[in-house]
């Protein structure tokens, strides 16, 4: 005990024993976070996943970004001088006021002007000799053979960001060896993109060969002057402006492509996929996806300051305290590999991670339901002065019906009533409570909160599933569901053909034992109506195959917003986006000509009363047809420590690390306070072990010296 106390005193001012970081990092401005899965793509042309955007968002800079604080989400310039306006032209080149008459529009031009003086982060691809030639653009095999990281190329350089870099990246969407997931989609809009892809495919290029895209013209992307470029679309797509805030439109210098395309580089992981180069606030200083990934402050980062306006409550949260100060605030961000939730959660509690989500196993330790019925932090969390941020995500998790299925699909009255009955019986509120720890809002339609078109309270309630009573939405009774079921021709849930309960099938990609209880709960929802639900679990591949072939009957799906526009959710039910016939994102293969016609009008209208009116009609139509059980909008619960500042969640901005602050001194104090080692239990175990051996030794000695007689 004494020894333990002495050790505690000695260790009071030194690094805690369980500190996983080097002691000299304690005073540094470093934010510690985690990643569970190594990012597959860091090339902006192919990166599309959330876990990749955590990195690419800090490194690359598309022309636009989302305002960090303002809600609803607002696009603002990043490297551009202004958010570009769409310019509509008819076939004769005459400027049109808008795209209301979509058929009259022959082309749409977005002209983007860049801020001068922005430079790329230091990179060997830019390094030049005094004579102007590039150090590393003609490497010998001997050099590339020895190079496994960028450290093998000590010389670095930079240059100014110009319009050509953006145009070059747009051309890369058509590159034959880069697999941009959005190339096909954007090819429908950007003039000449598909033609360029065909041209490049017809030429024979080696897999890693440098294709100098500067030598190819793309009609839809044109440099006007050093800082100005134009993107031309072949038809109106007002939501295109949001794409200008995504990494697909981030600049890539041709020098990087030329550098990485040299023989031997790709074989040693030296590609843009692993060593990105951009103009953003951070550079990827260490890329070891087996252990950690380190972002370090870009020494060349241009002048950008913290916003001075936001929502009314932002000031009270302290989220305006740094207004006008230069970004970024933190020197380094360390992403540590943590494959399991439990170690991550425990390390957050010890102060070794600065922010954390809440794993299901740790939910009760972090959150309790307060007297007002609202979630609040537990006493343990409060004792550590942990902060909680709750945000409704711009996404939707729903249960879909395959509209091509002969039983639950189709637009006839029977099928509609069957789906409506199921929508009432499926108790989404209970689902959220049991399986989501209350983290979600029941959906009333396809549009999530925070997106134009969403309506709150009574105006937004789905009257076919809910009643509005005493200021809240109340799910209709099961009797109502049974009534619909009987009208559909299934009284008591019985199939008239067999006289037995109607059997329905839920298709799922089983990913773990946790889902079994959820499937069991699904069955109970259907049993309420006398229906039998058979869960057809399969692996991910077979499930995808079923969805692509239209063989699934009922399934669970979700969508996370690409951008904050209702089009990005309503297109999930647009007929020409059907998954089976058109390989689109309409997984239910829902097709209603009236809805499709309204969608065509809605997508080109600016936000306003007319657009809202059309959206209301569309939502009413899909509620009536019920191709989905509307499910819920998930809520993100984020915990962060007292030393982390400006942690306002922004679920669309991928570049929000530049706004974060961290107080390393306070963090070091708290870590020491929370993590003194306790040795006495180990000493007790050791003593017990020794003591337990003594009698054994005595027995042994007695036997050893015992006489035979």
């Amino acid at each position: 005990m004494l020894l333990s106390s002495a050790l505690r005193v000695v260790s009071a001012d030194v690094t805690p024993w369980n500190n996983p970081y080097p002691a000299d990092n304690a005073a540094k401005s470093i934010l510690y976070s985690v990643f569970q899965e190594r990012p597959k793509h860091l090339d902006p042309v192919s990166s599309y996943s959330e876990n990749e955007a955590v990195f690419t968002g800090q490194i690359y800079e598309p022309p636009l970004q989302y305002h960090f604080l303002k809600r609803p989400y607002e696009l603002i310039p990043l490297t551009a001088t202004a958010v570009p306006e769409a310019q509509y032209f008819d076939a004769r080149g005459k400027r049109l006021p808008d795209a209301t008459d979509e058929q009259a529009v022959a082309k749409v031009i977005y002209r983007i002007t860049l801020r001068p003086g922005i430079t790329f982060a230091p990179h060997p691809a830019f390094a030049r000799r005094p004579d102007g030639s590039y150090y590393y653009h003609a490497l010998s095999p001997e050099i590339t053979q020895r190079a496994f990281t960028l450290n093998a190329f000590p010389e670095t350089g930079t240059r100014e960001l110009i319009a050509d870099d953006y145009v070059y990246e747009i051309k890369r969407l058509a590159h034959p060896h880069l697999h941009s997931p959005v190339a096909s989609f954007l090819g429908k809009y950007i003039t000449g993109l598909n033609a360029l892809a065909r041209e490049l495919r017809h030429r024979t290029y080696g897999k890693a060969e440098f294709i100098d895209l500067r030598a190819f013209d793309l009609l839809g992307a044109r440099v006007i002057d050093r800082y100005t470029f134009e993107i031309t679309l072949s038809k109106p797509y007002p939501q295109f402006v949001y794409w200008l805030a995504m990494s697909f439109f981030a600049p890539v210098p041709w020098e990087a492509d030329a550098f990485y395309s040299q023989p031997g580089m790709a074989e040693h992981n030296l590609t843009l996929e692993w060593y990105p180069v951009g103009t953003g606030p951070y550079v990827l200083n260490e890329n070891n996806p087996n252990r950690r990934m380190v972002l370090r402050r870009n020494p060349n980062f241009h002048l950008e300051t913290y916003p001075d306006a936001g929502e009314p409550s932002d000031g009270a949260h302290g989220w305006l305290a740094q207004a006008g100060q230069r970004l970024p605030f933190i020197d380094e961000v360390h992403f540590m590999l943590e494959k399991e939730d439990i170690p991550e959660w425990n390390k957050f509690q010890q102060g070794y991670y600065d922010t954390s989500g809440i794993a299901p196993d740790g939910f009760d330790q972090a959150i309790r339901v307060g007297p007002t019925g609202q979630p609040e932090l537990t006493d343990t969390m409060r004792a550590h002065d942990v902060r909680l941020a709750i945000t409704t995500q711009p996404s939707l998790n729903y249960i879909g019906f395959n509209m091509l299925d002969p039983v639950v699909g189709g637009n006839d009255r029977r099928a509609r009533l069957l789906r409506r009955a199921l929508s009432i019986a499926f108790d989404t509120e209970e689902l959220i409570s049991i399986f989501g720890n209350g983290r979600g809002i029941p959906a009333q339609g396809p549009i999530p909160p925070g997106i134009f078109g969403f309506k709150e309270a009574e105006a937004g309630v789905n009257p076919l599933v809910y009643d509005w009573r005493q200021g809240r939405a109340v799910r209709k009774s099961l009797d109502q569901a049974r009534h619909y079921l009987a009208q559909a021709g299934y009284p008591g849930g019985r199939d008239p053909a067999s006289g037995k309960p109607l059997v329905l099938y839920f298709d799922a990609a089983t990913t773990g034992p946790d889902l079994k209880s959820q499937f069991s709960w699904y069955r109970k929802q259907f049993e309420k109506l006398g229906l039998e639900l058979v869960v057809r679990s399969t692996d991910y591949n077979r499930f995808q195959e079923k969805m692509h072939k239209g063989d699934a009957q009922i399934y669970s799906w979700g969508w996370n917003a690409d951008y904050p526009d209702p089009e990005n959710f309503l297109f999930l039910l647009y007929g020409p986006n059907g998954k089976v016939r058109h390989q689109g994102e309409n997984a239910s293969n829902y097709a209603n000509p009236a809805y499709d016609a309204l969608f065509q009008r809605m997508r080109v209208l600016p936000n306003g009363a007319e657009r809202q009116r059309i959206i209301d009609q569309m939502v009413a139509l899909v509620r009536e047809d019920s191709p989905w059980i509307w499910g819920f909008h998930p809520q993100a619960f984020t915990l962060y420590h007292q030393w982390v500042g400006n942690a306002k969640p922004n679920l669309l901005a991928r570049n929000s690390l530049k706004y974060r602050t961290v107080d390393p001194v306070l963090r070091a104090v708290k870590r020491r306070e929370w993590n003194p080692p306790r040795l006495w239990p180990l000493l007790l175990v050791l003593i017990a072990a020794v003591v337990s051996i003594v009698p054994a030794v005595l027995v042994y000695r007695r036997r050893r010296y015992a006489t035979a007689l």
């Binding site: 024993w17 369980n18 697999h179 992981n269 070891n288 054994a696």
Partner: protein, 327 residues
């Protein structure tokens, strides 16, 4: 012995071809090239054209085993199986489906795996052999019965429980070592101490019981009784006679674990965030990266074959009475 080893080496090639074939068939029964492409391209906005392009780019657009569209030997050689297999036998692992150099990744990950596996092997041997000898000597005493009870209890607990329990108790409550993580060099000691302790503890029960049985079997033999009769001390009998003659099962236990030294431990590495080879294969299976899966299975097969050969050689060294292949 030499003839025996040459004969064994001749078996290596057909075994490796067989392992490669089985891996290939099993992988492609579950995953089609289309599935792999969709997994790599993501779920959003991916068209069949993009899938076809990915397959072509990654050499998965050919038939699996038999190419009926060409003539001659190309019917066999112009297939995914042939093209993917031939390089393996030259130990050219190539690139993963997402473009990583597999050989480089294996070299990088082997160190952390060894940093845990080697100490585990040594500490485990030291502790279990010592305890095994001790309970063999003290057989029939309360100590023996108490150790038996502890061993059975240790064997009854799931390996995962040891990990989670140790992280909670040692790293969270007592705060003696970090919960998880890794760093190269000597500083790795504080990260690998707990996983090593957990692995040793998890294997302790079964190993002590096993060694106790082995040693007791030797103790009952006549030569040991003769040694006692000669008046040799307890320690001399146990170490010079019993332990030496119990070497064969010891060698088997050690050499068979050699491949796993390199291939790492999946669950331990995953929970302790050790960047070893253990999780490499599972990550590849989850992301349907066939290039990594086949490389790791092939490497595992080679290591097991080498391990078994070493076992045979070690047997001959430990027991000169053994002569392989001789009547």
């Amino acid at each position: 012995m030499t003839a025996y080893l040459i004969r064994r080496l001749c078996y290596v090639l057909p075994i490796l071809i067989g392992v490669n074939l089985i891996t290939f068939v099993l992988f492609f029964v579950v995953n089609s090239p289309d599935d792999m492409a969709r997994m790599h391209l993501g779920e959003r906005r991916v068209t069949q054209a993009a899938v076809d392009k990915w397959k072509e780019e990654h050499d998965y657009a050919r038939p699996l085993f038999w190419n009926a569209n060409v003539d001659g030997t190309a019917r066999v050689t112009d297939t995914i199986f042939y093209r993917r297999s031939i390089e393996l036998f030259l130990f050219k692992f190539g690139q993963s489906d997402d473009g990583r150099d597999i050989g480089y990744d294996i070299r990088q990950r082997m160190g952390p795996s060894l940093a845990i596996a080697l100490p585990v092997l040594m500490v485990e041997l030291l502790v279990t052999v010592t305890l095994g000898l001790l309970v063999a000597v003290l057989r029939g005493t309360y100590f023996d019965r108490w150790i038996a009870l502890v061993c059975v209890a240790l064997m009854s607990v799931s390996g995962l429980f040891y990990i989670v329990g140790a992280q909670y108790l040692i790293a969270k409550l007592l705060r003696i070592v970090p919960i998880s993580g890794f760093t190269p060099g000597l500083a790795a000691a504080k990260f690998v101490a707990l996983p090593i302790a957990v692995q040793v503890l998890a294997a302790l029960g079964a190993n002590v019981r096993w060694y106790r049985t082995v040693f007791l079997e030797e103790i009952e033999k006549e030569y040991v009784r003769t040694a006692w009769a000669k008046g040799l001390s307890e320690s001399a009998v146990m170490t010079r006679h019993v332990l030496r003659n119990a070497l064969l099962p010891l060698i088997t236990a050690i050499v068979v674990t050699l491949p796993s030294l390199f291939l790492g431990s999946l669950i331990t590495e995953s929970f302790f965030a050790i960047p070893g080879l253990g999780s490499y294969t599972i990550d590849a299976l989850q992301s349907q990266d066939f290039a990594i899966v086949r490389s790791m299975v092939f490497l595992g097969a080679v290591l097991y074959i080498v391990g078994l050969l070493l076992t045979d050689i070690a047997y001959a060294w430990a027991d000169p009475r053994l002569r392989f292949g001789e009547a």
